[in-house]
Assembly symmetry: C2
Homo-oligomer: 357 residues x 2
C-alpha cells in the first residue's frame, strides 16, 4: 500500500481557487444549475476543461443524499415457463451491487397473456416517477405508449429481450433473433444428411404479439441459412396455439403421421422441452432436436439426449446489463451502446455443466 501525493487529480477546490470563486459556484456549473452569471460560468467551464476534471464518484454519491429509483417491468414467472427467472436474477444481482451507491429497484410484473396487466403496471411506474426504466416490450402498442410517456417525462428506458427499433430507448440488450435462427440452421445442416426433412415448431398462444413475431424472426433466420447455402432440405412447419403439454403432443403426433420421414426438429422457443417429452414417450430416437433456453426442463432433456442443442442468449446477463446501463447513463454519465446484441450461445450435453446463463 502506498500513499499517492504527487499528481493528484484536480478537484472542485482546485477549480474554485483558479477561478477565484467558491466551490459552491463550481458545483453549480458542474451540474448545469442556474444562478451563475454567464461570465463566471464560461470561465469556470474553461478551467474544468483545462484541468480535465474528473469528478470523484465516491465523494459525489456520499455527499448527495439522493436515491435513484430504477423500475423494471417484465413478465412474472409462471409455471408455464420459468425463463423470466433468469433476467430477474441478473437484475437482483445488479441491485445488490448498486445498493451501496444509493440505487433502489422497483419490480413490476405483468402477465404474458394479459395486456391489461401490462398497462396497469406501466401506469404505476409512471406515477412513481422513476429515474430510469427497464422493460421487456411484450405488447407492441402498449409498450410504445408507455415509452412515449417515459420520453415525455424524460425518463430513460432500456429494452431487454426484444427490441422496438424506432424508439428513443437508451439501449436494447438482447438477441439478434434472425442470426440466432441462422446459427440454428447451420448446426442442423451439419448434423443431418443432405435433403432430409426438417420440422419447424412455433409454440405460442397469441399470433399477433411481439412474442410471436420473435418466433417468426428466428424461423426466417433458420430458413435463410438453408437458402443461402443452397440446401434443398424440405421444411415442414407447425404453429401450435394451445401451449399445454397435451395439445403439443397431439399436434406432434399428427405431424409425424403425415411426415414420418422428419429427421430434425427446430423449436423456436423454450417449449422444446415439451417436444422432447413427446419424443421420449414415443421412444423416437435418431432425431436431431434444437431449441431455445437454458431452463431446467430443457436441461434435463439435453442431458438425457432428447435435445441435442439449446441456443441461449444469456438472460441473466441481459437483466444485469440492462440495469447497469441505466447506472452508467444516469450516475456515471458515460456513453451506452445503443444496441448490445447478446451472443448466440450453443449448449450441448457436454458443455452444459459449464454454461453461465
Amino acid at each position: 500500500m502506498k500513499k499517492s501525493k504527487q499528481n493528484e487529480p484536480a478537484g472542485v477546490k482546485d477549480i474554485a481557487r483558479r477561478a477565484n470563486v467558491s466551490i459552491g459556484t463550481v458545483d453549480r456549473v458542474l451540474h448545469n444549475r442556474e444562478g451563475v452569471s454567464e461570465k463566471t460560468r464560461a470561465r469556470i467551464n474553461k478551467i474544468i476543461r483545462e484541468l480535465n476534471y474528473q469528478p470523484n464518484i465516491l465523494a459525489r454519491r456520499l455527499a448527495s443524499r439522493k436515491t435513484l429509483q430504477f423500475d423494471i417491468l417484465i413478465p412474472h414467472i409462471s409455471n408455464e415457463s420459468d425463463y423470466w427467472q433468469a433476467p430477474l436474477l441478473g437484475i437482483i444481482r445488479a441491485e445488490a451491487e448498486l445498493k451501496q451507491f444509493g440505487i433502489n429497484i422497483g419490480k413490476f410484473f405483468f402477465d404474458q397473456n394479459d395486456k391489461d396487466s401490462f398497462v396497469k403496471q406501466a401506469e404505476l411506474i409512471l406515477k412513481r416517477k422513476a429515474d430510469g426504466v427497464l422493460l421487456a416490450p411484450f405488447f407492441l402498442d402498449e409498450s410504445t405508449q408507455f415509452t412515449h410517456a417515459c420520453s415525455r417525462m424524460q425518463i430513460p428506458f432500456v429494452f431487454i429481450n426484444s427490441d422496438i427499433p424506432d424508439q428513443p430507448s437508451l439501449c436494447y440488450i438482447g438477441p439478434d433473433l434472425f442470426h440466432s435462427g441462422y446459427a440454428g440452421g447451420q448446426l442442423t445442416r451439419y448434423c443431418i444428411p443432405e435433403k432430409s426433412k426438417i420440422l419447424v415448431v412455433n409454440v405460442s398462444k397469441e399470433i399477433k404479439n411481439q412474442q410471436h413475431n420473435r418466433l417468426l424472426r428466428k424461423e426466417e433466420g433458420f430458413r435463410a441459412y438453408f437458402k443461402d447455402n443452397n440446401r434443398k432440405n424440405p421444411v415442414v412447419k407447425t404453429d401450435i396455439r394451445k401451449t399445454d403439454q397435451l395439445s403439443i403432443e397431439k399436434n406432434m403426433s399428427d405431424i409425424f403421421q403425415q411426415h414420418p420421414d422428419i429427421r430434425s426438429i427446430f423449436v423456436t422457443n423454450s417449449r422444446v422441452g415439451s417436444v422432447a417429452s413427446f419424443l421420449e414417450k414415443n421412444n423416437m430416437k435418431n432425431l436431431l432436436v434444437t431449441g431455445y433456453d437454458f431452463i431446467e426442463d430443457n436441461i434435463s432433456f439435453l442431458k438425457k439426449g432428447w435435445i441435442d442443442f439449446l441456443i441461449c442468449h444469456k438472460p441473466v446477463e441481459q437483466g444485469y446489463r440492462g440495469i447497469m446501463s441505466l447506472y452508467q447513463h444516469l450516475v456515471l454519465k458515460a456513453e451506452v451502446e445503443k444496441t448490445y446484441f447478446m451472443p448466440v450461445d450453443i449448449v450441448l450435453k457436454e458443455n452444459c455443466a459449464f454454461y453461465r446463463n
Copy 2:
C-alpha cells in the same frame, strides 16, 4: 429521486453511541487493530453484530487515502499468437473501473519460451510488495516457487488460464480443459459419419511444461468422449514441435500421405489457423475442423469455411474477473469462489459476429 430518512443503516456513530466509546475505538475494533482492551472489544463486537453493521464502502475508500497495488504476470503478446491480448484487455477494463476506487495495476510480462524471463519478472513483483497478484502459471516449478513466496508475504494470488490445484490460491479462473475437449468430441461425432478417421494435432514447442500439459488434457477429454459413447472412430495423433507455419504444413502433408482417409481434425490449441491454412492451400475440403480460440487468424478461416468450430473460454473475461476477484477479496472482503470454470463456448461461422470473447 427520494431522500431516505427512516431505517438508515447503522453507522460507526451508532455503534459508538451504544457502546459508549468514541468512533475511533469502533474503527479500531472494526479493523482488528490493537490498542483496545478485550472488554471493550467484545462489547463493541457484540453491538456490531446486533446492528448487522455494513460498512459504507464509498466512505471507507474516500476517507482512507490508501492505494492498493495489484500486479499481473502474464505472457507478453507475441506475433506467434495474439491470444494474450484478450486477457490483458479484460484486465485493462477492470483497471478502468477500479481506478476511482484507488486501485493501481502493475503489468509484468514474460516470454512464453523463456523461463528466466518469468523468474525475473516474478522477482520484480515480490520486491514491490504488491497487495495482490494475478498470474498465468506457465512454468510449473517457477510458478510454484513464486506463489510460495507470495504466501509467505501474505499476498493473495489468483491463477488464470491454467490452474495449479494444490496451491493456496485465492481462486482459479479458466477452463476445465478435460471437459472442453470432451465437448469437442461431441461436436465432432455429431458431424462426421460413424467410424471415420480423426486426426488430433498438438502444436507446442516444449513438451515438458504446463502449456503442453494443457493440450494433453484436452486430448484426453476428446478421446474420452468417444470411449464413453462407444464410438470406434480410429484416432491418429501428431505432435508438432516446430511451431512455424512451414513445419506445420510439412507435418500435415506427411500425415495425410499416410492417412488420406482422415475425415476430421481436432487441433488442441489456437494453432488451428495454421492447419486451416494448409488445407486451404491444398484445397482439401470436406474435412471437419475444430480448434481453439477466437483470434483473428482463426476467425478469418472460420468465415471462409476452413474451420468449422472454435472452442473458446472467454479470455477477456478471465482477465477481468481475475482482477475483480482480488478486489472482492481485498476491498469488499467478500467470499470468492475458489474455482470458477469458464464456459465452453462454441463459435461457428454463423454466430461468430456476436461472440463476446
